[in-house]
Symmetry: C2
Subunit: 344 residues, 2 copies
DNA sequence: AAATTTTTCGGAAACGTTTCCGACGAACAC
DNA sequence: GTGTTCGTCGGAAACGTTTCCGAAAAATTT
């Protein structure tokens, strides 16, 4: 069964192919009358334009790619749907692609641009290292979303949307301190990782220092490399080890809610209660955090707003706006039952 | 900065374009020597084949699309990564697309085939209604994965991979009965929905009937239409309503683990304990189920195996195997602490 | 050494669109 | 009535590949 092409429609309507093309793309230079006639027969014959031919013929496509660092991460996966809606609303074609290594994410983006003639890229997750990534070689507009930029690294002026991980991390630890906690453990990201978790760890240290509390290296834990990052399984394994070490602490800050859920389990397994024996703070504000027992105190990232703003900025860059907006959104501290007030 | 094409490489190497094409695609009819020479300069000049041109020139592509009914569903999103790995391993290009309405999923597939010249389709989630879906019009091999086929609807002979939702649903309810429960509530899918949840509800009824227990319609709840399906929020709302009605029950079967987590919250909020006051059973076997308090008794769907088998079957169909395999995998009952034994 | 087969390669058509350019007629200005 | 502009349209080139076909070169057989 041969596919019906633009030529077939042209032949049937007794017009030129360019006229059909104009009709379909709502181009100008065509009378309303013939346009309708063409559109009608196109519909009648179930004509569907071939994307490949379109991309090839046109000097540019209408496709935006979302490159995500880790597909399975629940925090990001909830954002896919939002991105899809937003991009479709603005008339873009949509492409979801995932990369294993955050170091390769830019290189992969450049490859995809050549391969698919992208109009823009959204990078989701991971971190920026301007020295190692060929940012200047990205030939199309792009925006980083929820991508951490370490303050120790050279600052990139790429457009981005996210929160201030250091500040928000510091905020929730200060909240713990305010509630009377002095020995606060942390489950941070994988060691050496420069993603958002690193920023939150930095905030943790800042909070302790500002309060004049000592930084006890034994209370600083990192997620395990051999397990998937930011999962409950990882949080469980790390927290279990921490408890078994027998080091005393009254509060635990997990740099992601999912990790915290794993930590909960380890705490329960050791016959401790939350928050009476150990207070727990999370980060991210995933929906689930409200339902677990006890509901977790955490920093909510405004994911919906992040998505909307990311797409807006990308769209503007595509339209030619010459501004590298770096949008830092505010997180929201959700005070729930997982933290005890132990000030006497 | 002009893109470098196959012609450029040909000119540089002083060969014909077809020779370059052969080198790049590992085609036969070329000497090992020239192939290496071409591959080298291609690499040197960062040559990347243009997918659109490729798809257009070739009579067929190498692209497989995964059409998913609901992107944000955590159960499916965990499968994306697996699909990607599997498909890449077999040398396929990969395309993830989501559809809002399961009724449209086949129509959308047909459209995509024309548009992108797909080689195959994987349908993920939702349900099959052979009368309403133009299954015979799908011009390429396809496989349904985790797609429910209601036994009341005409049977499709399309290739598929999944579990027997009726049987597994029945199994876990029988387990509850064995533990002494007689008044068992259920939170099933949205009313009228014919997806997997409907099968599990059917299993629930079968189990009760087989045990000679009455079916109390008041104990049969459906997820709310205005909330996203299979989420904790939905489970919470429904379970809260159920409890407020004041109807007596000792056990609750939620057709998804996430829903169960929401139900947990509603139960805790009403000052009841799990499982001492109410036992809860889930379904799916997501990782999280092991970490929540108490760990949930559930039926684990072998997601990894499902993915592997789905890709295998699709791949075989593409290779020309003329068999419509309908693979029904076994679930695994995970006995955990959320169910109390109340046999005296 | 000639004839045949096999290997290696180049040219060109084809894929289905977009876009540029030119043509034609009608409407308008002078 | 002639020249100019404008709206409408068709033809054809271009996009970057794959693939078919035939030719040249090399290897093999006779």
């Amino acid at each position: 069964m041969k596919n019906i092409t633009i030529k077939d429609i042209a032949r049937i309507c007794k017009v030129g192919v360019s006229t059909v093309s104009r009709a379909i793309n709502n181009d100008s230079g065509i009378s309303e009358e013939t346009r309708e006639r063409i559109l009608e027969t196109a519909k009648k014959y179930h004509y569907v334009p071939n994307t490949s031919a379109r991309n090839l013929g046109a000097t540019e496509t209408n496709t935006v790619a979302v490159l995500v660092y880790s597909v399975t991460n629940i925090f990001f996966s909830a954002m896919y749907g939002m991105f899809q809606t937003q991009l479709e609303d603005r008339g873009y074609d949509y492409l979801l692609h995932s990369v294993k290594d955050t170091q390769d994410i830019v290189a992969e983006g450049i490859r995809l641009v050549k391969e698919k003639r992208l109009k823009g890229i959204i990078f989701l997750g991971g971190w920026i290292d301007p020295d190692k990534m060929r940012l200047d070689d990205i030939p199309v507009p792009y925006v980083f979303c929820t991508v951490y930029q370490d303050i120790d690294l050279p600052k990139s002026d790429s457009p981005s949307v996210g929160i201030d991980d250091v500040k928000e991390g510091r905020r929730i630890v200060e909240y713990l301190i305010k509630k009377g906690h002095e020995r606060i453990a942390i489950i941070a990201g994988v060691e050496g990782d420069r993603a958002t978790g690193a920023g939150r760890l930095k905030g943790y240290k800042q909070a302790l220092e500002a309060a004049g509390l000592p930084i006890d290296e034994r209370l600083i834990c990192h997620m395990k490399k051999n397990l998937e990052e930011f999962t409950a399984a990882n949080g469980y394994a790390v927290c279990k080890e921490l408890i078994e070490k027998g080091i005393d602490f009254t509060a635990l800050f997990c740099v992601s809610d999912l990790t915290a859920i794993g930590a909960y389990r380890a705490i329960y397994d050791s016959d401790r209660r939350i928050p009476e024996d150990i207070s727990v703070a999370g980060f991210d504000g995933i929906e689930l955090g409200e339902y677990i027992e006890p509901p977790i105190t955490t920093i909510r990232q405004p994911r919906d707003k992040m998505v909307v703003e990311t797409v807006r900025i990308l769209s503007e860059k595509i339209e030619g706006v010459d501004k590298n907006e770096q949008l830092v959104l505010k997180g929201k501290l959700l005070e729930r039952a997982s933290i005890a007030d132990i000030t006497k």
